[in-house]
Amino acid sequence: MSDALPIEVTSPTPLLELRGISKEFPGVKALDDVSFAVYPGEVHMLLGENGAGKSSLMKVLCGAYRADAGEFYYRGEKVAISSTADAQKLGIAVIFQEFSLVPYLDIAQNIFLGREPKGRIPGTIDRRRILADAKHVLGKIGFDIDPSTTVDKLGVAQQQMVEIAKAISQNARILVMDEPTAALSDRETELLFELIARLKADGVSIVYISHRMAEVFALGDRITVLRDGRRIDGVRPGDVTPDQLVRMMVGRNVDMTYPRHFADKPGEVLLQVKGLTASTGISDINIEVRRGEIVGLCGLVGSGRSEVARAIFGADPVTSGEIIFDGKTISGEPDLAARRGIALIPESRKSEGLALLRSVSDNLVVSALRKLFPSGLFDSRGAQRTSDALIRQLRIATPSARQTVGLLSGGNQQKVVIGKWLAAGSKLFIFDEPTRGIDIGAKSEIFALIDRLVAEGAAALMISSEQIEICHVCDRAYVMREGRIAGHLTRSELTEENIVRLGMHHA
């Protein structure tokens, strides 16, 4: 496919152009002769699987990495981006997935952190001006909130707005956003899209990284696809189909359908939750999961899905209600639930699922120590054998079981989290957003794995914000709204429309 810029453009000179950017790390070419141009006031979608080079390109753009080769042009003039200060001077700002806000400072202080207007007395801050300036910037992006609110009181979406306000206050002309909707609800996503439209109208360019096909087509003016560190193509959304884009990303035909073998008749009841109420904001939850089933748990972010999962697993205290697992009532800490055969694959695998600095092997056996070594004596060779078998079975891409798990890709880390429960011989797997931040190839592998697990008599309760995944994979689903079960959908009723209808407020 062509490497030149293929598209006629609205404005003759790009705001920023990268030509022939290469970046090499020992043993791998992270970026290989990538050219990339951003025009004023456009939304430029950056697509690619994990490891395709999006992250490296982003880091080169914002000056965090120095390119080994290649040139930068700003409004047609050659410039250098060799530090984050250089990038900032050119008006490039990045909104990372993990925000860089100080939780106990207020919004205004966060926006002007390190650039506070000086007060009359040396060493002081002009509090009145900082609030007024913050109000002005917030007004610009249409975010109506008191700038003296501390950031720790804000939700993810609001924190993101503060990050954007911070970038705008620094006169950012190019805003790089890394999967900005990953943690947003549908309503919040809509608000973000409105803001993006407004920024565009002001001539701000947006480089937008996404794994969600729908967004790519809804927002994008142009699309650049990366694969294996190379630029594969640049296209306009109107000229391609989602399937074509996927093929460009993975370089082969991928089965977009999710593998699932539905059983004719589900098995016996494995989990029964009756009137579960917890102080984390869920009340009167009634759920049933049978062997051989994948049951979806959907609803908006914040509707209490994760809280239900945590309460069942014993991670949060339960105020009332009953959890019956495999015929017996359980209550207590996670170690009890785990020993009885419940597995939780938490939403945040880095902070809750893995010991990142420990090895793949250490992480794979951690939940199965008692089962693997009933005498209480640990044997590292035994652990190694179990790990090697799991690495083969789950096709975890790692040089060895001794590799530090934090160095694996997102998909492989997720396989390790699942693997530790396979080693423990769990019967019920509770997945909280199992495919977040995972590329398409790894996604279908994970679904195939879940399918195989339930076919062998286990059961799964799956939380996902990707309604399409729920619809394709689940036997049936519960929909949550404001901490309660708002409804139940059977296989034939399971459509995106129904999920949204039940999950919406004031539906």
Binding site: G53, A355, R358, V366, F378, K420
Partner: protein, 325 residues
């Protein structure tokens, strides 16, 4: 977005584990110090001096070995020195009153263990950060000990009891045998039992450990209790060696024990380190102090040198670890 580049450029872990490499470097450092001291001082290599070094190192090691387990869980026990003092005074009183060393030893160990258990309860049930909980405990124990002793000194214990700290068996001081035994037990516990593995997992990520089904609170209780019992053991050795007990004997013990743990390569952030490393840490610490004595360097310099060694050791560790990642 994840960063696959990092993954693909990483060489697989080398044949030796990170822990083994750390211990190896430390052994080299200890040998190097020995070589230097042997050249500089004629008396360093004498049998008497070497046994003296080992005996001194053993006392630091007993306290530091229990502490190592605490630090592996990303906690800290600042009360160990004060615990030694209280346990020694109580054990000493029991021996005086009953005339039974065995009863005294048991009381000393029990006192240490109960204090450790209380630390554990504060950390788990009350969720007080270990640093603060054990710091408070330090003051409480000091207060108790001063009140209990009321300025008195206990001394004069049965000859049999004094053998524990100052006796010899086949030419080696008895504390050195105890050191070898507890080095073995500690290493076995940390490396070869599933509780040891769970302790490393808790230190590496307590949230993930809990959500992986590890009974975190119970393991922490165990670890703080063990740390207390080891302080109790140290109190017995102390009592028996000095043949006396006063309220203030614990004050110079806590910081050297922490130094031994850190020099030994256990990370204050948890999840990394070994009991054997702590043994070498205690050895290095003692060797340097011993060398300074032999070379007639003023004792005033010793804290300064200890501080520099701690900083140097931790800095080198962080450097090699960063390179490994």
């Amino acid at each position: 977005m994840t960063d696959i580049t990092k993954e693909t450029i990483m060489p697989p872990r080398s044949f030796l584990s990170q822990d083994a490499i750390q211990v190896f470097y430390r052994l080299l450092a200890a040998l190097l110090i020995c070589a230097v001291l042997a050249v500089l001082s004629d008396s360093f290599l004498s049998l008497g001096n070497i046994l003296n070094v080992l005996r001194q190192a053993s006392l630091t090691f007993f306290i530091a070995s229990g502490l190592t387990l605490v630090v592996l869980t990303a906690g800290l026990d600042l009360s160990v020195g004060a615990n030694v003092a209280l346990s020694a005074c109580i054990a000493g009183t029991v021996i005086h009153k009953t005339g039974s060393p065995a009863l005294g030893i048991l009381t000393g160990l029990a006192c240490g263990g109960v204090v450790g258990l209380l630390n554990g309860v504060m950390v788990t049930a009350l969720r007080i950060p270990s640093f603060i909980a054990t710091y408070g405990m330090l003051w409480v124990l000091n207060g108790l000990t001063y009140w209990y002793m009321a300025g008195e000194t206990l001394h004069g214990f049965p000859a049999g009891f004094r053998q524990i700290g100052s006796g010899y068996l086949f030419g080696l001081p008895i504390p050195v045998y105890l050191l070898l035994v507890f080095l073995g037990i500690g290493t076995f516990f940390a490396q070869r039992t599933i509780w040891g593995q769970e302790i490393y997992a808790i230190g590496a990520n307590p949230v993930a450990a809990r959500l992986s089904g590890i009974p975190v609170a119970r393991r922490l209780l165990l670890v703080y209790t063990v740390s207390g019992i080891m302080a109790g053991l140290a109190s017995i050795i102390f009592l028996s060696r000095l043949n006396s007990a006063e309220a203030d004997i614990g004050e110079s013990l806590t910081l050297p024990a922490i130094a031994a743990v850190l020099i030994g390569g256990t990370s204050l952030f948890g999840g990394v380190g070994t009991v054997f490393g702590t043994f070498i840490g205690a050895l290095i610490l003692t060797l340097v102090l011993n060398g300074m004595n032999l070379l007639s360097v003023s004792a005033n310099w010793q804290p300064l040198v200890t501080g520099i060694i701690v900083i140097l050791a931790v800095w080198l560790d962080m450097k090699t670890r960063r390179r490994a990642q």
